[in-house]
């Protein structure tokens, strides 16, 4: 740890770390306020494929968290940044609610394909259109590759199977932009103007939050809330920098030991 530079930024996962569904993790609001009083930048990072930043913001503000829209960085933000860097015009296979985060982008005559969780767009015609673009050289960008997700009526296919199918059809490899990809974390940090060795990530997902952040050169703190299951800390190598009961404990550790 001696080689690490002074801590400048804290990246915080949302669902499972600050709140579980419609309930805040006890003490999380005050802990966030205390963190903000320290000289450290804060960013909220999450994998989402169907909720725009405004939706996320409204939910968190409704739970009395103090944050602003520009502090949220999602897998959709990461996709947009990638498209803008390469000046691509995307065909967006994303949920209607996520489209808002792509407002203002040129989508005419597309030369890139973005796949999120979009059951309404995974029909044969639309996938054929996406396939033809990819075969003509358009890059395939995946918000993430989850196999399936749970909804009220049971399990349902996630974006991963469709991304995998398109990869097979066009004999290509998708660029995945969400957590745990290294570029996701470095992009989020670049907006704060700091490097991975000046940052720590707090999250409830050992692989996607903690493992991904540590692979990118950050410290990772695993919290035992949300999707955490006993033994998760031993599922990644190297293990988490720290595992603690919940977000307020993680903040306490940062304030006491890292600043």
């Amino acid at each position: 740890m001696a080689a690490r530079r002074a801590l400048k930024a804290v990246l915080i996962d949302l669902s499972g770390t600050l709140h579980i569904e419609d309930t805040a993790v006890p003490g999380a609001q005050e802990a966030l306020s205390r963190l903000r009083q320290a000289s450290v930048a804060v960013k909220f990072v999450t994998n989402t494929t169907k909720e725009c930043k405004r939706n996320l913001l409204e939910r968190l503000q409704g739970l009395n968290f103090d944050l602003q829209e520009r502090e949220i960085f999602t897998s959709l933000s990461a996709a947009r940044r990638l498209l803008e860097q390469k000046q691509h015009r995307p065909l967006l296979l994303v949920d209607d609610r996520a489209l808002e985060d792509f407002t203002g982008m040129d989508t005419s005559d597309p030369n890139a394909v973005v796949v999120g969780l979009a059951p309404d767009r995974f029909d044969y015609q639309t996938l054929n259109a996406a396939f033809r673009l990819i075969l003509d050289g358009a890059p395939l960008i995946a918000i993430h590759k989850a196999r399936y997700y749970k909804r009220k009526d049971g399990l349902a296919l996630g974006p991963g199977p469709f991304v995998t199918g398109l990869e097979y059809a066009a004999d290509c490899k998708a660029t995945v932009v969400g957590k745990p990809e290294e570029t996701f974390f470095t992009q989020a940090l670049s907006e704060l103007g700091c490097s991975p060795d000046e940052a720590v990530m707090i999250g409830d997902d050992a692989r996607d939050d903690v493992g991904g952040a540590q692979n990118a050169g950050m410290l990772g703190i695993l919290v035992r809330t949300g999707k955490y299951r006993a033994g998760d800390e031993s599922k990644i190598n190297p293990p988490p920098y720290l595992t603690c009961d919940s977000f307020p404990d993680a903040v306490e550790h940062i304030l006491t030991n890292l600043l």
Partner: protein
């Protein structure tokens, strides 16, 4: 001029297997059109002492309807000479006592009439085209994920095919999607599966070294046949692309302009 070294074995040849779409005819509006010279080429093969079978991954219609379409185009062909994945799948399902959930094109459903489909314990997917909706794929996924050990059969595993209005995703894409979703490996029925080619050879009662496969799909027709120790020749019709002749893993024993040229080369070499 076509390289003719592949015809060296023509004298010891006892049977020929032909792919159909892209070799006999091009698909498209109104069922498609015969490829120039192919009707005559099939006639010549039938008049020779060679055995002839047809082998297709077509899964959008029953064999009866499919063969009737080819007969209308002028081909001398009958149902018993045609091998397609659906009847092969039915045989496997019955042999293993499996009850399928079907995700296939409406036109091929009657092939499965004799199979018990209640309380499914496996999934069969074919080229379902427009029926590959999220909803339908999700239903197949739920059957699989609900099984203790998911069993998935795929009628072929093609990536895409060409229709008059452009390239279309083939069954292999959806097979890969379900494989990834359920973390299973599908059992492929049809080309390029060795079991499928072997069933055609068994029907002719000949050894693989005595048989030649002619197709337009380098990997599934030619590569699949070669994997069974048959010779494989590719035609420059159908889905043929010039890059096939520089493929990294599959090299055809011969490449010819079309079926008519292949048949003429074989028969003249045999001294017919």
């Amino acid at each position: 001029m076509a390289d003719s070294s592949w015809t060296d074995s023509a004298k010891s040849l006892k049977g020929v297997i032909l792919d159909m779409c892209g070799v006999l005819y091009d698909s498209g509006e109104g069922g498609g059109t015969p490829i120039a010279g192919s009707v005559e080429a099939v006639k010549k093969l039938k008049a020779s002492d060679l055995q002839l079978r047809f082998c297709t991954n077509e899964t959008q219609a029953t064999r009866e309807k499919f063969v009737a379409k080819l007969q209308r185009m002028g081909f001398d062909i009958c149902v018993s000479e045609v091998f397609s994945p659906a009847p092969a799948a039915v045989a496997i399902l019955k042999e293993r006592g499996l009850r399928p959930h079907l995700l296939v094109y409406d036109g091929v459903v009657p092939e499965f009439d004799s199979v018990d489909k209640t309380n499914p314990n496996c999934v069969v997917i074919g080229d379902a085209a427009d029926k590959f909706s999220y909803q339908n794929l999700n239903e197949a996924f739920r059957v699989l994920i609900g099984l203790e050990k998911p069993v998935l059969f795929s009628l072929g595993k093609g990536r895409y095919y060409k229709e008059t209005d452009g390239l279309k995703l083939d069954v292999g894409v959806y097979m890969k999607a379900l494989e990834y979703a359920c973390d299973v490996e599908a059992e492929v029925i049809g080309k390029p599966s060795s079991v499928f080619f072997q069933s055609v050879l068994n029907d002719m009662g000949i050894q693989p070294q005595e048989a030649l496969m002619i197709g337009d799909d380098l990997v599934n027709d030619v590569g699949g046949a070669q994997h069974c120790k048959m010779k494989g020749v590719q035609v420059r019709t159908g889905k043929y692309r010039p890059s096939d002749e520089r493929h990294p893993t599959v090299t055809a024993d011969g490449t010819v302009d079309n079926l008519a040229q292949a048949v003429d080369m074989i028969l003249s070499r045999r001294g017919c």
